[in-house]
């Protein structure tokens, strides 16, 4: 099964086995991963599921929509080149494994 590894700001890591079709936000919220809120349920309306994707996985990511781009500008933590909304990244055959860093704040 595909796996997602979430890295907390203190460096600790949790790895989840995730079904294909699940988003990084949904997997985190359903499994109680701290630091990912996902307030709007995945509509790219809130920017509370901001993550930094490790560069080695960048090529496997889906493209960024204008909506996601706009909302990332509203994220609380600093926006970096590797910033994404976890609700817009779906685990699929192209992306069987990913490691993300959770920013220090979502609110």
């Amino acid at each position: 099964m595909p796996s997602v590894t979430y890295t907390q700001p203190d460096g600790s890591q949790q790895t989840l086995e995730v079904k294909e079709g699940t988003t990084l936000m949904r997997a985190a919220v359903s499994n109680g991963i701290d630091g990912i809120i996902g307030e709007c349920g995945g509509q790219a309306m809130c920017a509370t599921c901001h993550v930094y994707v490790r560069p080695e996985y960048a090529d496997a990511l889906p493209g960024m929509s204008d909506d996601e781009d706009e909302m990332l500008d509203c994220a609380t933590a600093e926006r970096l080149d590797r910033s994404r909304l976890a609700c817009q990244i779906r685990i699929d055959a192209e992306l069987a494994e990913i490691v993300v860093d959770i920013p220090p704040a979502q609110l």
């Binding site: 919220v29 307030e39 709007c40 349920g41 509509q43 309306m45 809130c46 509370t48 706009e70 609110l107």
Partner: protein
Amino acid sequence: MTTQAPQCPFHGKSRTGIDARLEDNLSPYQPPPASPDGAGYPTADWVDVAALTADPYPTYARLQAESPVAWVPQLNRFLVTSYDGCHAIEQDQEIFSANVSGATMTRAIGSRPMLRKDDPEHSVDRAPVNPVLRPKSINEVWGPVFERNAETYLDRMAEVGSGETDLNRDYAAPLASRNLIDLLGLKDVSVEQVRRWSHDFIAGMGNVLDDQSIWDRCDTSTKEADRLLKELIPYYRQNPDASMVSAWANSGLPASNVAANVKLTISGGMNEPQHMVTNMVWALSQNPEQRAQVLADPSLWAAVFDEAVRWQSPIGMYPRQTTRETVLEGVRIPAGAGIGVVVAAANRDAAHFGRSAPAFDIHRPKRPHLAFGSGVHLCAGHWTAKTSIGQIAVPKAYQRFPGLRLDETRSESWDGWVFRGLTSLPVTWN
């Protein structure tokens, strides 16, 4: 004074005690029998609806302490008052459906709006207006409109005068209506007319007693709104702009969906921004140290808004219905049960916000709250509210009238629990 007696538009339940009890006889859902061996769900038969309406927070505190998921016979539903319980409900629309029994909402506004749909049906209605309501559009397109409207009604306050102004009547209410008219893109309507529509739709949605005079009022307003939309939808198809009606008109949705959701927005987009204006001023008047801090440092306005909406949440409760038997926070809930998601209580849950939860504190550690809901039904207007009220309406009022505060020679009044807000807020600034 409680001149307004609105009923909740989001679930068709009256918020008055008498109506709520009568409604028990009308509800299609019959509660399962209480378990004789005590192994069933907790029951809170002591809940008094009149007490909830006057001040719900003591009831919420007792429910949280005794049974945060409890069957409340008087309301014919389970009330969920813990943060974790409310949050869990919002994460699972398959078990906790927004498509609840009872058709007054549909009767009142003509067809089922997005707030009573689950995904994927819900998202088809909702997605077209999300771009209008994201921060960029709200700040760049609508911010100047909200600022102009605030100035208009600050002028009115100045005319009415310090010591005579009711902040609800003279500022919050007309401003909320004007902002909504502009954001929706309604044309040739007055602030008073749209306020009347909003009140009538709310009354119709709560008309569980089948009062014909309420249906008549509601039908009049529905006809007026539908007549306007019949012109506006084709108009915006030819002349699209940045408004919500334009976005819906050009979404490919049937006109009946557009009309239902516009009328939902008219119903629900009025009271809450209105209440947030008065909530914030009331909270700062009660907490002069924090008032001084935000007036010295305007970057704190976002925290003032966020704390005020947590502390006195304008939407206190909204409904869900179980699609199958489930267990929530250790309590077994049968299929088809009505659930009241009491976000106003969850927003003061000490297990989530700490022991200081009952206090207004703009410096409290940031934790997610549920004042706008959570999940796919997260209030579509949350950025609009944060901007139009939190960044514009209230800060501008203090800029114009730096001494703005409660007028202690006249009394303010709070009302409601499903919807809660100040029905009158006398202010002074000299």
